[in-house]
């Protein structure tokens, strides 16, 4: 890997990546896509281990990590935006 990657997307088709180091807003980061590297400009700071969007997501769209849906976007999410409990809901909580 020539370029130092600062985020990781674990499966092709993932629409979020995970920060491997704390990332600052407005930074353009290299994302390890498994078999390649993609660059994304961040809209907000992303803490270590937290996620940001790799593309624009509509409200109701599945958030894909590990090649699987980990929940649904509860609002539109722009590419490079922070993705967490404020804009994603899981489907597998009891009664929720």
């Amino acid at each position: 890997m020539k370029e130092k990657t600062k985020a990781l997307a674990l499966s092709t088709g993932d629409n979020v990546a995970t920060a491997l180091v704390p990332l600052e807003a407005d930074a353009t980061v290299a994302v390890d896509m498994g078999r390649g590297v993609e660059k994304v400009k961040l809209l907000s700071p992303i803490p270590l281990g937290h996620k940001f969007a790799l593309r624009d997501l509509e409200e109701g769209q599945s958030v894909i990590k590990y090649g699987e849906s980990i929940g649904t976007a509860t609002a539109p999410i722009r590419k490079g935006a922070y993705v967490h409990v404020h804009n994603v809901r899981g489907g597998k909580r009891r009664g929720g």
Binding site: M1, E3, K4, T5, K6, L8, L10, S11, T18, A19, L20, V21, A30, D32, G34, R35, P47, L48, G49, H50, K51, V63, K65, Y66, G67, E68, S69, I70, G71, V83, H84, V85, V88, R89, G90, G91, K92, R93, R94
Partner: protein, 386 residues
């Protein structure tokens, strides 16, 4: 085709180790069994405390587990040490191990006339077994002979992010060679069980996975804990885990991306190749024991915080992506894949390194838990002893 150097067995299987195994058929004979292996290189004893008082499903699992360890290709010969009046008689266990073709001997404390005579007769038998085992040499076997157990414990944010995905790549490389991978820890599936069930080869396999998850969930609720209500925990959310699906997927991802070819009960042997699902607790040692009883000759174990856990008869490869844990627990950690998190090593390359380590460990390279004599053993029980 890639090979490992293993020990051939008369039933066509191949072991990664050549242990003489002493099995106390009941907790009462454990002291004598431990005394028999004391100071003997090449022999190990299972610290079994059960053998009386298990009924129904528990008795079935107990017998299957002890027999599974005896049959394991990692075992050259077996000495069963009983007390003499236990409910699970050593003859019943020995009779089920014998068809595997290996030497099985049985002694009981009541027959031999006390612990002293039992230990001296047992030591004589074990010495002979060790001498015969020492004459056997390793030979090349295809990786299709391997059953790899997968496990994670003492997880932290690095587990789902780096070590588990890297192990997943290694698992895909192994199944591509015709090898078998066991995924287990049913309580860890909760929240992502629909995803694993969807990956099942048949609807029946998928249904059994969902039923197993429902059983564990019900048991946890009966014990006072609703797993779906407490997960992801505030600590998980702080660490970046957003949903329960995400948390469970981080664990499941370590077994690779293949379809689930079979669902098996605790301690059972797979009858298919590829990715197999075994219903076990998430309890590290009970899970490890179940997979090894099912025929796993080698195990990969990812950890974030660090764990010393090891099997009496199988190499357990300890992998962490937490560099501080690797440095702080060098006594226990076999592999450091923290380069993934520093952007220094791609997850694919780390996966290949793990795959190579599986082949090395299977060919005789000792892992840290073996070097330290860490021989953990505990059999899952669904109900109290009677």
């Amino acid at each position: 085709m890639i090979h490992f150097q293993g020990y051939g067995r008369s039933n066509g299987k191949a072991g990664t180790r050549n242990h003489v195994l002493v099995i106390p058929s009941v907790g009462c004979s454990q002291g004598a069994a431990q005394a028999i292996v004391r100071g003997m290189r090449g022999a190990v004893c299972l610290p079994n405390i059960l053998g009386c008082g298990q009924v129904g499903r528990d008795r079935v699992m107990l017998k299957r587990t002890l027999v599974g360890f005896g049959i394991s290709p990692n075992v050259f010969a077996v000495l069963l040490v009983g007390n003499g009046c236990e409910q699970l008689a050593p003859e019943e266990i020995g009779g089920a191990i014998e068809p595997s073709g290996k030497r099985v001997e049985i002694i009981t404390i009541q027959n031999e006339g006390g612990t002293g005579k039992t230990v001296s007769r047992g030591r004589k038998i074990v010495k002979e077994m060790i001498a015969t085992a020492a004459r056997q040499v390793r030979e090349p076997f295809p990786l299709s002979e391997l059953i790899l157990g997968t496990e994670c414990g003492g997880s932290d944010y690095t587990s789902g992010l780096a070590s588990n995905p890297a192990v997943g790549i290694a698992c895909d490389l192994l199944t591509a060679e015709g090898g078998t991978v066991i995924l287990s820890e049913t309580p860890e599936l909760i929240g992502a069980e629909h995803i694993v069930a969807r990956r099942a080869r048949t609807p029946e396999i998928g249904r059994r996975i969902l039923d197993a998850v429902a059983w564990w969930e019900k048991e946890a609720i009966a014990a006072g804990q609703d797993i779906r209500e407490v997960n992801p925990s505030p600590g998980n959310i702080e660490g970046g885990i957003t949903t329960l699906e995400e948390k469970s997927l981080g664990c499941i991802y370590k077994a690779g991306s293949g379809p689930v070819e079979e669902f098996i009960e605790y301690g059972s042997s797979p009858s298919q190749e590829g990715l197999i699902y075994m219903d076990t607790p998430a309890h590290d040692i009970e899970q490890l024991t179940g997979m090894v009883a099912g025929g796993s000759q080698v195990v990969v174990f990812t950890t974030g915080r660090g764990t010393p856990c090891g099997s009496p008869i199988a190499p357990v490869i300890k992998i962490t992506a937490n560099h501080q844990t690797y440095l702080g627990m060098r006594d226990n950690m076999d592999m450091d894949v923290s380069g993934i998190l520093k952007g220094k090593e791609g997850v694919e390359r780390a996966g290949r390194r793990i795959f190579d380590e599986i082949v090395s460990a299977s060919s005789g390279v000792l892992m840290k838990a073996e070097k330290r004599g860490q021989r953990d053993f505990a059999i899952f029980q669904a109900h109290p002893n009677i």
